[in-house]
């Protein structure tokens, strides 16, 4: 009798644990902006962390899962920012629609870069992405009658849902959250779909993937298109939230590298990696600004550099696998921090049906 009850409880808790984890995480994410309502500075940090988590998450789909080491994702980010802003400022088209148009344009560009460079072996893809971002920056700087050049464009502040502009930070928070969830959920889907398995196989060994009948170019171009489109969506949101865009930032190598570094700090090829990395970097950024008011510039770059050196030296696979390992050896079981755990465990997740 005792045994039966224990067994039953165990089984129930095995089913309940993930549900409870996801439920409490959702509750926390919904409550968070209201808890931070009076600390707008921190809410702002959270929103930016979600935004960069979305961009880095989009990069991670191609870079982490597909091994496509793009160093020019700022191209797609900038297209998203500029498309929606120009359509809004010049033609009065809603940024929501602009967001969609930006995503489509970025997808087309990603497709073009992909079908040309992803057939070739060697570093052509990475180099091409850098070049494209630089070219777009030069265009945005010099096409002054449309883009106002290096002076940048200010998004006019007309609050209203249709204009994706609000007088409270809370709506921005929820938009950022949804945008951040897109690459996160897609990454989880990759772990349990044919497309995802093919992608990871190509990342690990392209020739072996071809031998199994995988059309490797199509799969790689496919993930690049998806990644580009989501990066552009993040770009549009950035423009709407920060309300000023300028070519030297939006198309910059810094923005491209930021997506790569955040992902590497959190964990490459893990759903939660880029989000975690973004929160670490953005959080530290805020902290540094608090501590060292006025001495920004170089300090920011130094922080980045130090963080990256530490990660590469001590936890080359990223912070999430490292934390997981620590919790596992320390407690001999599931860690608390259900958000971290549920996301990170997808790397080693074996579904109950895994045994077949």
């Amino acid at each position: 009798m005792m045994n039966v009850t224990t067994e039953g409880n165990k089984r129930r808790s095995a089913i309940l644990t993930p549900t409870v984890g996801v439920g409490s995480a959702a509750l926390f994410l919904i409550a968070l902006p209201f808890l931070l309502q009076n600390q707008l500075y921190y809410l702002d940090t959270v929103i930016l962390a979600l935004l960069w988590g979305a961009a880095a998450g989009a990069w991670n789909l191609a870079g982490g899962y597909g091994g496509l080491l793009s160093l020019g994702h700022a191209a797609f980010f900038g297209i998203g920012a500029y498309t929606s802003t120009l359509l809004f400022v010049r033609l009065g088209i809603s940024p929501w629609l602009g967001m969609l148009v930006g995503a489509v344009l970025a997808a087309i560009l990603g497709w073009l870069i992909g079908i040309i460079t992803l057939r070739m072996k060697g570093p052509f893809f990475g180099l091409a992405t850098i070049a494209i971002a630089e070219v777009l920056m030069i265009v945005a700087v010099n096409w002054t009658e449309v883009t106002q050049g290096s002076q940048g464009i200010t998004v006019p502040y007309k609050p209203g849902f249709a204009n994706m502009a609000f007088d409270s930070k809370i709506p921005y928070y929820f938009i950022a959250l949804v945008i951040c969830l897109i690459p996160f959920l897609l990454a989880r889907w990759l772990k349990q779909s044919k497309f995802g398995y093919e992608l990871m196989a190509i990342r690990d060994n392209e020739a072996a993937a071809q031998a199994l009948g995988i059309h490797t170019v199509r799969v790689k171009v496919g993930i690049l298109v998806i990644s580009s489109a989501i990066t552009a969506v993040a770009g549009t949101f950035y423009a709407q939230y920060v309300t000023v865009i300028e070519p030297y930032h939006e198309f910059s190598f810094n923005v491209s590298i930021q997506m790569v570094l955040m992902t590497m700090i959190g964990g490459l090829g893990m759903a939660l990696g880029p989000v975690f990395g973004s929160f670490v970097v953005t959080g530290l950024d805020t902290l540094m600004r608090d501590l060292l008011q006025g001495t920004q510039g170089g300090v920011h770059a130094m922080m980045y550099g130090t963080l990256l050196v530490l990660v590469v030296l001590f936890v080359p696979e990223g912070m999430i696998p490292w934390l997981k390992e620590r919790f596992r050896s320390g407690k001999g079981g599931r860690s608390h921090g259900s958000v971290v755990d549920s996301g990170a465990s997808d790397q080693t997740f074996r579904g109950p049906d895994g045994g077949g």
Partner: protein
């Protein structure tokens, strides 16, 4: 089933595969031998679409497949293993084979079942969730075979699957290959392990400096003085048979 005609590949001044023609019948087990650098692996690359040919034609099941890409050829039912194993390093043993099984059964659950079945078939049933990077060479070779089998090939090219294995592992893998042949798969095997060649293959093809030196029933070819001279050297043909 497979017809190769006048296949030629040059690398600069070197003719790696020189006007090679042969056929493989359904149900056959063909062995390919030859000294290092004789063009055996290049021949595999050409037939399975990993290298473009300079001249010649390849027909598979009556269709010309010359110039087709490796993935297209694989989808037609002709696949291969690699001499230097190419596991998907960040996936575990099971997932490695799931990738292959998904090409035939796109539903993940079915692919998992198929993958497990194939892994048990080759003797990797105890290693389903092991990391592939830490597998010993013998098991890596078996994994290579399992991946190829999971695509349900009708013609399978094996590039030195016995290389680096202990005598026990060779015997074990030979049993597996016999079972593979029994399931109706036609096999072509590059091999340096003579025991595997003599005991498994029905026909044998000898390459020398890229050209076909001999082709016929294994028992006859292995005694051919020219072959003995070029490749087998001092080995007594009677001793191995």
């Amino acid at each position: 089933m497979l017809t190769v005609e006048h296949l030629t590949k040059r690398f600069g001044g070197l003719t790696a595969v020189d006007d090679v023609s042969f056929t493989v019948e359904e149900g056959d087990f063909l062995g390919i031998i030859g000294p290092n650098g004789a063009g055996k692996t290049t021949l595999f690359h050409l037939i399975t679409g990993f290298l473009p040919t300079d001249a010649g034609e390849v027909w598979f099941k009556g269709k010309a497949i010359t110039g087709k890409k490796a993935y297209q050829i694989s989808r037609l039912g002709m696949t291969r293993t690699f001499q230097i194993t190419k596991p998907f390093g960040q996936l575990d043993v099971m997932e490695n084979v799931v990738v292959a099984a998904l090409q035939q059964s796109p539903a993940l659950r079915e692919a998992r079942e198929r993958a497990e079945e194939v892994l048990r078939f080759v003797g990797l049933g105890a290693y389903l969730h092991h990391s592939v990077t830490h597998l010993p060479i013998g098991l890596k070779k078996k994994l290579e075979l399992a991946k190829a089998l999971a695509t349900r090939p009708s013609l399978l090219f094996l590039d030195e699957v016995m290389g680096g294995l202990s005598p026990d592992e060779v015997r074990d893998l030979m049993d597996v290959l016999r079972k593979v042949q029994e399931t109706g798969v036609t096999l072509v095997m590059i091999e340096h392990v003579l025991q595997a060649i003599t005991e498994l293959t029905q026909t044998l093809l000898v390459l020398h400096h890229g050209a076909l030196l001999a082709h016929g029933a294994t028992v006859d070819v292995i005694r051919d003085p020219e072959v003995v001279d070029a490749y087998l050297g001092e080995v007594e043909p009677d001793a191995v048979h």
